[in-house]
Symmetry: C2
Subunit: 623 residues, 2 copies
């Protein structure tokens, strides 16, 4: 049955104002309200409405599209707005635990307004706050309350000027001195300055700083987080020994103050070590529940995935905004036509549809996947919090990490390319700042390099897949995972034996067809596995062998991810609970995303077919 | 023999200062000075040096990378700098005629400094100035001198708010009144406001305004250009009846003041009509050397190509800058390595090389093509100026128009994608404004939509090719053109019969191999021709039939253009005059560009092969 609004609350989804889009809207084959309800659910729609209504009615959030604010003013405004968000109390700490999806929704709503604001809020609450909560212990919980009241304002200082992706090479040191029961935090030189730290430029009073922990005996126990006050709470002047400042203008998100900090022998009390993973006794003995640094690092993989999952959702939000702007413009902009006197909306041109509509489909498919993965992540975290140390829990962590590590690249690139396509599809007007496509592009851009460059992250996914195949080949272990994302790979030999026959174009309009073709990507898995072994046999070390990504690991991870997104969306739109009136349009979106994505791999399909020894002829596979 | 500097002027190409790039530079297989001399020639190097030295030593051109200027300040600075460029007198009007390539070089040098400045200069001198010179007659030459002294400052007002690409639909009117011997220039409504006009926002005093010319009898003779004073020379206040202003912030080039203008019955003297293409006698009779509006429009195609040729060069300049920044960063940035203690420059990673080096090769290939096309264009213009109305001259005009219409899309997209790749390849630091990749991306972006969206322009090239094929099929006319770019298409049936066999990887490192494979694109031409005929047979009008671009006309035009660029570069680097010491490196650049470009068409090559009815087997073509 079609979802309907409870209690007749039509105000939740009011009619659009009359305008030039009416004629297109009247031609829709479905009710947009039904689609909105089905996609988001009434609770989430209501929550969004609460947030947007508050911002719309608050002069602090007034915006003038395309306005040119000075950096100082923009950063000041973002801070004031961030503070106001806490005053609105859209989401208490309790709500966050009860309905985690609302956290994601709140971030997306703030981001739809302005990513600088969303980033400030997220960095303070979810990155700084979560780090204190999850890496610290009871002695640090006094900070939590101050975070929510914004008595203190936080940042997360991991990256250094010369080290981003390679966190193990970070060079800030923390030497423990048992005499004073203090750590001495020190930056050996400017290349070891903490750099890029969001909120640190102007506004943060406290930082979670990662440093190499050295004991009095000379031993180094690796990276540990410390909570350090970097600015005076009243004057915002730097604390003694801390040189802190703003790194300057960026390509986007200029309402966010990214900063740097150099520590000159800063003395920090022993209890400022966030001690969940490892602690130091007053007399200077190191204690840890983990055997070694590698294991300690593994245990933190789960929380690394959070960032990637959230970035996926952020990128999808940008794609939604851009496609809406470009589609609406294209429906009203008229240029040329079949006769000299008649101009038609540019949306009627095949090229314009080809440019924009696949991104519309991608927005739906990626949105669904990103929400699902978020909920899987919540399950994982709940297991961790409940102390679940089962093999399944560990497997789930690895699987989610693999999905997030390729999902973030796929979503951020799709959004980045989609926004650029939308900007160009709007011609000159797309280049005007007030039309917002530039801001979306600039603000989405860091999603492509946050948490490590996309190409580097993809390697984590291909390594995961290669690891599973290696176990199957060497030990006969079945390929399977808690979320079943990789289970199909277990039957890769028989998949590679299959031929996919399509008798008509109409057949292709069912995404099941492209989905079946996509499973052929196990060809890429087998090829990558063979390439890796070949490299190793020829004497390359593991590092060099894995460096051969371009034509193997990279396309493998991307194709795998496209399949995951497609499969999840295909199943979703074919569920019995889908309202009959929406089945056609959702089915078309799924088919469009499927064919558009698969189209990138046509050469691979041809190549794989030839290598089977049966190029273009009848199926006489030898396997 | 290797080129050497005359007179031992080592100051022209001084050594690089010592630094972290030394080790890579020492490993080069060639002398960079020799390559610079070969690529640019000593005269042009010297001209560039003159310009850069002047800017470097003038405080007005001091820059603070990543600085955040207000719009007002930035626009004011750009105007002052533009004025100063005239004072430097790098290039007199005489030089422009004598050594036109220096015009292109000057634009590129100004653009390397700041595209807003280059745009202001070009719009005033080359767009506004050329329009007055080439569309006007002797009575307008008094303006020329005032243009070079910047007594007046000009803009070119064609585009309206609702009409860009479709210039024929422009709605500003010019009604002639014989009683006062004046034109009445009028904008019927806001949608007919002149819009996007560079220099109009703040600084232009005069505009070349295009309007539909109406005679007292009611006849309309189509678009004609008028020179109109829009602002007072001293106060810069708008002239009576002119509403003029700035359209606001853009995604980039914010030092350029793009503006709008609405004309309310503005009275303009009769002699302000730029009357080369058509004139009005005092008593109100229309006279023109051209039979009809269509022919008049055709005659202006030549000058339309200028814009596209110059945009090509601008895009290539951006690509050069971006690749230099990213390659240098990648050679010094170290991250991860084969062991925990040893980090290697990111340039050593296969992925990084794969991302950046093809764009380096593309910069060389596109640079060479764009310079050649510029010189062809000069030849065309010299013919026009000399009154050459031969068939060859007309053919040359069409050929250059086809090359420029696809060359501009190929160059601007390659640059746009290349800059984005460079920005991501530099990780977080690529996102910092002072590292300039953002400005390059934002300033290059309009190159993708100037003169009409790239996708629309590509259609002009595919139409040209289809027209040639249609003549051959219907009338047996040979396919050939003055620059011989299309001559190979004449033997398309035999090309389609050929098989390209490569026995080793080493063979592919000669760009001749990819070049031969590229000629297979005539398969696309034949397919597009057939598709078009099929559409027409099924009852589509010409407009609808040509609308089927996505899988036919568009890839045809792009592949054709890639072939043109490749062929031109391949021939260039295999000339006997290439110094022996540069042959290896230039040959590698040519092969890399060839294989990288061809790689995009792998699926086509597979598909075409199958359709020959001989999929994967021995050659037994039936043609």
């Amino acid at each position: 049955m079609a979802p309907t609004l409870k209690g007749g609350d039509a105000a939740l989804l009011p009619e659009f104002p009359r305008g030039p889009l009416d004629s297109y809207r009247a031609r829709a084959s479905f009710s947009w309200k039904e689609l909105a309800l089905f996609t988001e659910g009434e609770d989430m729609l209501r929550f969004k409405k609460t947030i947007f209504s508050a911002l719309e009615n608050d002069p602090l959030f007034a915006r003038s599209p395309g306005a040119h604010l000075s950096l100082e003013k923009y950063r000041e405004l973002s801070f004031l707005r961030c503070k106001r968000i806490f005053e609105y109390d859209f989401l208490s700490a309790g709500d966050m635990f009860e309905s985690p999806l609302k956290v994601s929704t709140l971030i997306q709503c703030l981001g739809m307004y302005d990513w600088s604001l969303a980033a400030k809020y997220v960095l303070h609450t979810l990155i700084f706050g979560s780090a204190v909560f999850s890496s610290g212990s009871e002695r640090h919980f006094t900070y939590i309350q101050k975070i929510f009241s914004m008595e203190i304002f936080g940042c997360f200082a991991l990256t250094e000027l010369s080290h981003g992706s390679n966190t193990k090479a970070i060079r800030t040191t923390a030497h423990y001195n048992p005499a004073t029961e203090e750590f001495i935090i020190h930056s050996p030189d400017f290349e070891a300055a903490k750099f890029w730290v969001g909120n640190m430029g102007k506004t943060a009073t406290h930082a979670v700083v990662f440093a190499q922990l050295h004991m009095p005996g000379g031993q180094c126990h690796g990276l540990h987080p410390f909570i350090i006050q970097i600015r005076d709470l009243k004057t915002l002047l730097p604390m003694p020994g801390v040189m802190v400042g703003d790194i300057g203008k960026k390509l986007g998100q200029n309402g966010l103050d990214n900063g740097f900090a150099v520590f000159h022998k800063v003395r920090v009390p022993r209890h400022n070590l966030l001690n969940r993973m490892g602690d130091v006794t007053p007399e200077g003995t190191y204690v840890s529940p983990f055997k070694d640094a590698r294991q300690r690092f593994g245990a933190s993989l789960g929380s690394l995935s959070w960032g990637r999952v959230v970035i996926m959702a952020m990128a999808v939000t940008n794609l939604k905004l851009a496609v809406s702007i470009a589609a609406r413009f294209s429906a009203t902009r008229r240029q040329f036509g079949p006769t000299e006197d008649e101009e038609i909306p540019v949306l009627e041109y095949q090229t314009q549809q080809w440019r924009l509509l696949p991104y519309l489909a991608a927005a739906y498919a990626l949105d669904h996947f990103s929400t699902s993965l978020f909920l899987d992540m919540v399950e994982l975290q709940r297991g961790l919090a409940a102390g679940d140390r089962s093999a399944r829990q560990a497997e789930l962590g690895r699987e989610i990490h693999a999905l997030a590590s390729a999902g973030k690249p796929l979503a951020s690139w799709t959004a980045q390319q989609g926004i650029q396509e939308c900007r160009e599809a709007c011609g000159g007007h797309g280049y005007l700042a007030m039309n917002r496509l530039g801001v979306l592009r600039d603000d989405n851009d860091p999603n492509c390099t946050y948490e490590g460059d996309n190409n580097v992250l993809l390697q984590q996914t291909s390594n995961y897949l290669l690891g599973l195949l290696a176990l199957r080949v060497q030990d006969g272990a079945r390929i399977r995972s808690p979320l079943k994302s990789v289970d199909f790979l277990d039957s890769y030999p028989s998949i590679l034996d299959q031929r996919f026959e399509v008798s008509s174009v109409a057949d292709c309009l069912d995404s099941a067809v492209a989905l079946a073709a996509y499973k052929w990507l196990c060809y890429l898995l087998r090829e990558t596995h063979e390439k890796l072994n070949q490299e190793k046999r020829s004497g390359s070390g593991d590092f060099e062998a894995r460096n051969c990504q371009v034509f193997h690991g990279r396309p493998l991870a991307l194709a795998f991810m496209e399949l995951m997104v497609l499969q999840s969306f295909h199943e979703h739109v074919h569920r019995p609970c889908v309202p009959p009136s929406l089945r056609a349009v959702l089915g078309r979106l799924s088919a469009l995303y499927a064919l558009w994505s698969l189209n990138r791999h046509t050469a691979l399909l041809y190549r794989a077919e030839r290598r089977r020894g049966c190029p273009g002829g009848r199926d006489r596979s030898s396997r």
